[in-house]
C-alpha cells in the first residue's frame, strides 16, 4: 500500500477507535489545569516517582523547526503499559496529552505540540503494577536566522 493511502486509511481507523473507547475513558481534565508539572503528576499518579527507562521512547527534534508545531512521537516497549502522559515543563500548562492504553493497542502515537520556549519534554509511562517509567529530552526553541 502506498504511504499516502495508508495514512488516509489509518486516519479513518484511528477516529473509529477513539469513538469506540470514548465511553471508558477516565476523566483527567483537572490534571491539565496545573501550571507546574509536578502538581499535574501528583494529581495523576499521587506520590509515585518516575524512573528513567530505555523501554520508553520519546522522539523529538533537538531544535524545533517551528515552535507552533513540534512533531512528537511517543512509544514504549513495556508490555503492560496502561497509560502514557506527555509534559512540556515550560509551557503555561505543562500536561500536554494523556493516552490510556487498552489491551491490544500498539503504544505508539505521533502528534504535534506547541512550545513557546526551550524546555524539557517528558514522557511518563505507567504500567499495570502502578510503577512509572520515563524518558526526557530538551527541545530548543530559537529565534534562528543566522545560519552561515
Amino acid at each position: 500500500m502506498e504511504r499516502r493511502s495508508f495514512i488516509k486509511f489509518g486516519g479513518v481507523f484511528a477516529l473509529a477507535g477513539t469513538a469506540a473507547y470514548a465511553g471508558f475513558l477516565e476523566d483527567h481534565s483537572k490534571a491539565f489545569t496545573f501550571e507546574k508539572s509536578d502538581k499535574a503528576m501528583n494529581n495523576l499518579y499521587g506520590s509515585a516517582k518516575a524512573a528513567s527507562s530505555d523501554k520508553v521512547t520519546l522522539t523529538v527534534p533537538d531544535i524545533a523547526e517551528n515552535g507552533a508545531a513540534v512533531p512528537v512521537t511517543v512509544a514504549t516497549d513495556l508490555k503492560d503499559a496502561v497509560m502514557m502522559t506527555l509534559f512540556v515543563e515550560k509551557n503555561p500548562y505543562p500536561l500536554i496529552a494523556a493516552w490510556e492504553i487498552h489491551e491490544g493497542t500498539i503504544p505508539e502515537f505521533s502528534t504535534r505540540i506547541r512550545m513557546g520556549k526551550t524546555s524539557d519534554v517528558t514522557l511518563v509511562v505507567k504500567t499495570k503494577d502502578g510503577k512509572l517509567h520515563m524518558a526526557k529530552q530538551q527541545v530548543k526553541v530559537t529565534v534562528g536566522g543566522c545560519g552561515g
Binding site: E2, R3, R4, I7, K8, P61, D62, I63, A64, E65, N66, P71, T118, K140, T142, V143, G144, G145, C146, G147, G148
Partner: protein
C-alpha cells in the same frame, strides 16, 4: 607512517630538517605548497579512487578576495581542535611561513601585503582547469567530483537567475553528486525545476516531506513515499573496478536558520539514527568498497556525527567555511571516520585519493588545494559561459560605489568590517539607535585601496529575503536575541550549533563570555554613547533578513548603496566588536588583529 601520531610525525619532520614546509600527515607527497602553475600538475596519483570536492562557493563565478577569520573560537571539547585554530596558531601548527602563498590562502596574517602580491583566489574557470587536470591524470572513470552545496546563492547573477546560472556552471564543471543548503532559499518548485536542469545527482538523506503535504500530494517529485524522503538519500557510483556509496546530508537547520515560508513542506534535521540505518543498509545490501558522505552539517557537527554513526569512511563537509589542510580522524565504535572541509568561495579544491583493496579503504592521501587565480589558466568554455551570464548585469555590477582605505571583510565570530558598514548604513539611513545584521559566513573581501563596486555589496547581501525593517524593541529583547544567537554558535553540544557566526551589531557594545550557558553569556549591554541598555525601555532597532515573515523595508543592498554613495570614501571603520571573556589562551583568536 600511518603508525605515527601527529606529534611524532612533526618531530620526525623537524629532525629530518623538513620543518617549515607544508607537510601534513597523509597529504600527497609532492604538494607541500603551491607556488607556480606546474605545482598543480605535480600532485601525485595515489591509490585507485579519487574524490574531488568543492563546497560553499556561494556563486562566486569570478575570482575573489577572501580573508580567513581572525576569530573562530573552539570551546570545551573543541578547544584548540581544527577548525578552531587561526592566524599565527594555524601557521605554527601547519608549518606555514610568513609571506608565503599558503599564509595568504589559509590565514588572516599579513592580509593586505599578501593580497597585493598574490591577487585573487578561486573562480570557476580556474577551478574547471584544475578539476579537468586532476581528473585527466588520475583517470576519468576513477574520479568523482562532489559539490557540498551553498552554490546557487551569494551573487547578483545567482539571485537574478534564481540559481540557474550556477546550475549550468556545475554542469560545465562536471559535478557528479551534490547536496544543499542555500539552494533551499528559493521556492520549492524553483528548486525542483533547477534540479531537473542539473546533470549531477542531488542527494539528501535528511530532507523529509511533511506528512500532511505528502498525504495531500502537495509536493511533486517525491523520491520515496514510504520513507517520506524528498530526495534520493545516496547513490552508488562505479569508480574503476570499485563501487562506492555517496550519501547526502543537507544542512540540518535550514528551516530554522532560513525562512520556512519558501519551503513549507520540507522538514530537516541531523537525523543521525536515520543516517546509521542508511549506512547499515548500504553496507549490507549494496556491497560498497567505500562509503562517503557529502555533508553540509558544518565541521563540528560532522565530527560529532562521525563519532555517533559508524561505517562512513569519509565525510566531505562544508557549511562552516573552514579551510583545514588535513583529514581529521574521529574514532567511533566501528573504526575511524575522517572529516574534511573544503573552505569557501571557490578558494579550494579538495583532493582525496583512496587506496581500496579487499572491499576496504586501506590508505589515503588528502590535500586541500588552494586555487590561486593568477597561476591557473582559465578554462575557455567556462570563461565564455561566465561572460555571457554576466553580460546583462555587467554595467550594474561594475559600478563603483565608494573607495576604501580599510580592508572590508565579513568572516569571523564577531563583527567584520563589511558588516560594520552594513550596520552603520542601517542605523544612519533608517534612523535607528541600534542595528543588527546576521552572522553569515558568506560574503567576500575588498582589500584596502580597492574600489567598492555594487558587485561587492551584492556578495554581502544578494539573497531572497533582503528586506529591511525598523521597529521598537525592549532592552530585554535585545539581550534575549544576543543570548539566543550566541547559544547557536557556542552551545556545548555541536548538534545544537547552527554554524553561523554571532549576530553583528551597530550602536551597541557588550561583553561576552562564550563558555557560559545560555542566559549567562552576555553582559554590560550599552549604547555606543555609553548609556546602559535598560530591560524595560524601548529602542529603535534596524535590521534585515527576517526569517519569520517578510520585512516591509527596501532591500538592504539599497540601504548600503545609499550610505556608501553618501560617504564616497571609507577612511576607517569603527569596528564594534564585543569584549570577550576567557579567551586569552584560545588558539581560535588572533589577538594581534582583534579590535574591540
Amino acid at each position: 607512517m600511518s603508525s605515527l601520531n601527529r606529534r611524532e610525525f612533526f618531530y620526525l619532520m623537524s629532525v629530518l630538517g623538513l620543518g617549515g614546509t607544508q607537510v601534513h600527515a597523509k597529504s600527497h607527497k609532492k604538494i607541500y605548497g603551491v607556488n607556480k602553475v606546474e605545482d598543480y600538475s605535480q600532485l601525485e596519483n595515489f591509490g585507485n579512487a579519487r574524490f574531488l570536492h568543492i563546497t560553499d562557493t556561494h556563486a562566486q563565478l569570478n575570482p575573489v578576495y577572501f580573508r580567513e577569520p581572525s576569530v573562530n573560537l573552539g570551546l570545551h571539547s573543541n578547544f584548540g581542535e581544527p577548525p578552531h585554530i587561526v592566524g599565527s596558531h594555524f601557521a605554527k601548527r601547519y608549518g606555514i611561513k610568513p609571506g608565503s602563498r599558503m599564509e595568504y590562502a589559509l590565514t588572516c596574517l599579513n592580509y593586505e601585503e599578501n593580497a597585493e602580491r598574490f591577487n585573487r583566489v578561486g573562480g570557476f574557470a580556474q577551478i574547471k582547469t584544475i578539476v579537468d587536470n586532476l581528473r585527466g591524470r588520475f583517470g576519468e572513470d576513477k574520479t568523482l567530483l562532489l559539490d557540498g552545496g551553498d552554490t546557487w546563492q551569494g551573487s547578483w547573477t545567482a539571485l537574478k537567475t534564481r540559481g540557474k546560472d550556477m546550475v549550468e556552471a556545475l554542469n560545465i564543471l562536471g559535478v557528479d553528486v551534490c547536496t544543499g543548503h542555500w539552494e533551499f532559499t528559493y521556492m520549492q518548485n524553483e528548486i525542483l525545476e533547477n534540479l531537473k536542469l542539473l546533470d549531477a545527482e542531488f542527494v539528501a538523506q535528511n530532507v523529509l516531506v511533511d506528512e500532511v503535504a505528502l498525504m495531500m500530494g502537495d509536493v511533486p517529485d517525491v523520491y520515496d513515499e514510504s520513507s517520506g524522503r524528498q530526495f534520493k538519500p545516496y547513490t552508488m557510483k562505479k569508480m574503476g573496478d570499485h563501487t562506492v556509496a555517496v550519501i547526502g546530508q543537507a544542512f540540518p537547520y535550514t528551516t530554522i536558520a532560513n525562512p520556512q515560508r519558501f519551503i513549507p513542506n520540507w522538514s530537516f534535521g541531523i537525523r543521525p539514527e536515520k543516517m546509521q540505518e542508511l549506512v547499515n543498509h548500504i553496507r549490507e545490501k549494496e556491497n560498497p568498497d567505500a562509503v562517503i558522505c557529502v555533508s553540509h552539517n558544518g565541521y563540528d557537527v560532522d565530527k560529532k556525527m562521525a563519532y555517533a554513526v559508524t561505517g562512513i569512511d569519509f565525510i566531505m563537509g562544508g557549511h562552516t567555511h573552514d579551510g583545514v589542510p588535513e583529514a581529521y580522524p574521529v574514532k567511533n565504535s566501528g573504526g575511524v571516520t575522517h572529516v574534511i572541509n573544503s573552505g569557501s568561495n571557490g578558494k579550494f579544491v579538495s583532493v582525496l585519493d583512496l587506496d581500496i583493496k579487499n572491499k576496504k579503504v586501506q590508505d589515503f592521501r588528502y590535500t586541500l588545494l588552494p586555487v590561486f587565480s593568477d597561476l591557473v589558466p582559465e578554462d575557455k568554455q567556462m570563461k565564455s559561459y561566465i561572460e555571457n551570464v554576466r553580460a546583462p548585469y555587467k554595467a550594474e555590477l561594475e559600478r563603483t560605489i565608494a573607495t576604501t582605505d580599510e580592508t572590508l571583510y565579513r568572516r569571523g565570530n564577531f563583527n567584520g568590517t563589511f558588516d560594520q558598514i552594513i550596520c552603520d548604513a542601517l542605523r544612519e539611513v533608517k534612523g535607528a539607535d541600534i542595528s543588527m545584521s546576521p552572522g553569515f559566513r558568506w560574503g567576500v573581501s575588498v582589500p584596502m585601496g580597492h574600489e567598492i563596486t555594487f558587485e561587492d555589496i551584492a556578495t554581502q547581501t544578494a539573497m531572497t529575503y533582503p528586506e529591511t525593517y525598523v521597529r521598537e524593541v525592549k532592552g530585554e529583547d535585545i539581550h534575549r536575541i544576543l543570548e539566543d544567537v550566541a547559544d547557536n554558535l557556542f552551545n556545548k553540544d555541536p548538534f545544537l550549533q547552527q554554524g553561523g557566526d554571532m549576530v553583528r551589531t551597530g550602536g551597541l557594545s557588550y561583553t561576552i563570555d562564550p563558555a557560559q550557558e545560555i542566559g549567562k553569556r552576555i553582559s554590560k549591554l550599552e549604547l555606543s554613547n555609553g548609556e546602559k541598555i535598560e530591560a524595560g525601555k524601548n529602542y529603535r532597532l534596524a535590521g534585515w533578513s527576517t526569517v519569520g515573515s517578510q520585512a516591509p523595508g527596501e532591500p538592504v543592498w539599497d540601504t548600503v548603496t545609499t550610505y556608501l554613495q553618501d560617504r564616497k570614501h571609507i577612511k576607517n571603520v569603527n569596528l564594534e566588536s564585543p569584549d570577550i571573556i576567557g579567551v586569552k589562551n584560545n588558539p581560535g583568536i588572533e589577538h594581534s588583529l582583534y579590535k574591540s
